[in-house]
Amino acid sequence: MNHPAYPASQAPRPPRRLASFELASVPGSERVALARVAQSVAGLNLPSGRLENLKTAVAEATMNAIEHGNGNRSDLTVDIEVFFSGTEITVAISDHGGRGDAGWIDGGEVPDLARKLRGEQGPRGWGLFLIRNMVDRLEVTASGERRTVWLAMRTQAPQAAGPGQEE
């Protein structure tokens, strides 16, 4: 598979590729994605809470790639790569649907449960909200037919600054 260019903003130092695989754009591939990503980072001592968050973000981003990127076309793959920089895991999830604008990430309404319960928003639309809140950084790049979502997570949660400490 062709690899997307690793964005400079995601690279504190040259990363090591831990895994690279493709999945068909079919329902259930998101479960395969989260299991394989979890397997690839198993040796990195990621705290369990952060691992669960990463798995959720990977599954949601893979579903987005299948449904919105590839338009549920089973002949189009979702390509997934996992990198490790020493302190940070980055997962790149690419679709090939030709919807190359990266602007979708800023679009859409923020889900609001109160508004949903009043019928002012539909009940769905939680995917991007979950992704944003599960990882430390989210970025989207686009090149030709390929759009890539980059999910970055430090292996340790940042410590809150205490007295005499700088953040």
Partner: protein, 114 residues
């Protein structure tokens, strides 16, 4: 005890039914989840307690299903409660503010007493 397909529904007392969720809750779970809701309504439940102890995976589509159920329950003046959520899914309930609309308990006993 009548059971909705895929999800068990138990009448706990005169006003409370427990829906035992098993496996995955995703958008594909809508028929099973809504059938379970209907079964609880047939049992004349005023309180529906969702048992997540055997939940394996829930995604954004599943959260959407819970919101749909919540809208229906609110219309019928029914109360929703839950127990058995893992730490991760408790955090997701807090993040989405579902915990403000669905009271979360640690176990079935406290959920039924609530």
């Amino acid at each position: 005890m009548d059971e909705a397909p895929g999800l068990g529904v138990r009448k706990a007392d005169g006003r409370t039914s427990v829906i035992d969720i098993k496996g995955d809750i995703t958008a594909a779970s809508e028929p099973a989840l809504m059938a379970a809701y209907e079964e609880a309504a047939r049992q004349r439940a005023r309180r529906l307690v969702l048992n997540f102890s055997d939940l394996e995976y829930m995604n954004s589509g599943g959260i959407g299903m819970l919101v749909t159920m919540l809208v229906r329950a609110n219309r019928q003046h029914q109360e929703l409660a839950a127990y058995g959520l893992s730490h991760h899914y408790r955090e997701i309930f807090e993040l989405t503010r579902l915990d403000e609309a669905i009271t979360i308990y640690d176990d079935e006993r406290s959920a039924l007493a609530g």
